[in-house]
Assembly symmetry: C3
Homo-oligomer: 114 residues x 3
């Protein structure tokens, strides 16, 4: 069985909890046994900003290397006045975050909102 899940984060204050959840999950599984997406929208996309690289950057980069996809909502980037160039280079962008949340669930992904 392959584990498929999309995490949803729309508050900056929730990122620590999300990253802790992701570490627990990835440590429990073998690479290749999971598809894990993290969809950030609203203010939460600011955590992807590379300018003032925060302490969690290395944690996120390591998770990205194991296959975790970090995704940003483009509507939210615009609302937060962020450009794609401002983000960590492992971040992917989708036009509408909530649409991504729906599509992934309709493809059989579980949804977790820490």
């Amino acid at each position: 069985m392959q584990y498929k899940v999309i995490f949803h984060v729309d508050e900056l204050a929730k990122w620590n909890l999300v990253l802790s959840n992701l570490s627990n999950l990835v440590n429990a599984l073998k690479v290749g046994d999971f598809q894990v997406d993290v969809l950030a929208n609203s203010e939460a996309v600011r955590y992807y900003e590379s300018q003032d690289s925060h302490q969690d950057f290395f944690k996120m980069e390591k998770l990205a290397q194991t296959g975790v996809r970090f995704v940003a909502c483009n509507n939210s980037l615009r609302a937060q006045k962020l450009n794609p160039d401002d983000l960590f280079n492992f971040v992917e962008i989708v036009p509408v975050g909530v649409l991504e949340l729906i599509e992934k669930q309709q493809l059989g992904f579980a949804y977790i909102r820490p």
Copy 2:
């Protein structure tokens, strides 16, 4: 593909974010391509109260006209001492909000909790 989703809101403070999510979603899709429900329970049902019509009323009414269903949990209405007559006229009522959240997901609706 038709997009089916139920949004869950149980905090008054989350309505702004929910309505912003809904606008982004509806703007990205064609009417008829989606079934979008919003289930409010707990204190969040108070945002449906029509007496002191708030600034988001027009936003909600416009969304309702595109097909978004705004739904209230009747248990929560009772707990908040609200009558059906107190609500915006586009609001539908279900007996038990959490039951609606389960039934919709078992019918293939995605779940989003902003």
Copy 3:
């Protein structure tokens, strides 16, 4: 139709709302018509601590007797320095809470995050 749902609680402050949701749900259904799990992780596992038995203990015990499964994430128990012996005796333990949330959804359980 059998109702299957997993509730997710990761904040202590949300327990009141979760227990109220559970009571509404169980009162609306017949025993045997539902599978209801509650997965607590992060700080929320502290509500399972039996030492200072709180006012909601009887509410939880009664729900457990109707078939509601109260589950704790073992990673979170360790992080909170709690032992299995410290918990109410109706609490079950799983190794990784988020994995349980994924598995249950992939088995057709709805997800509710109050």
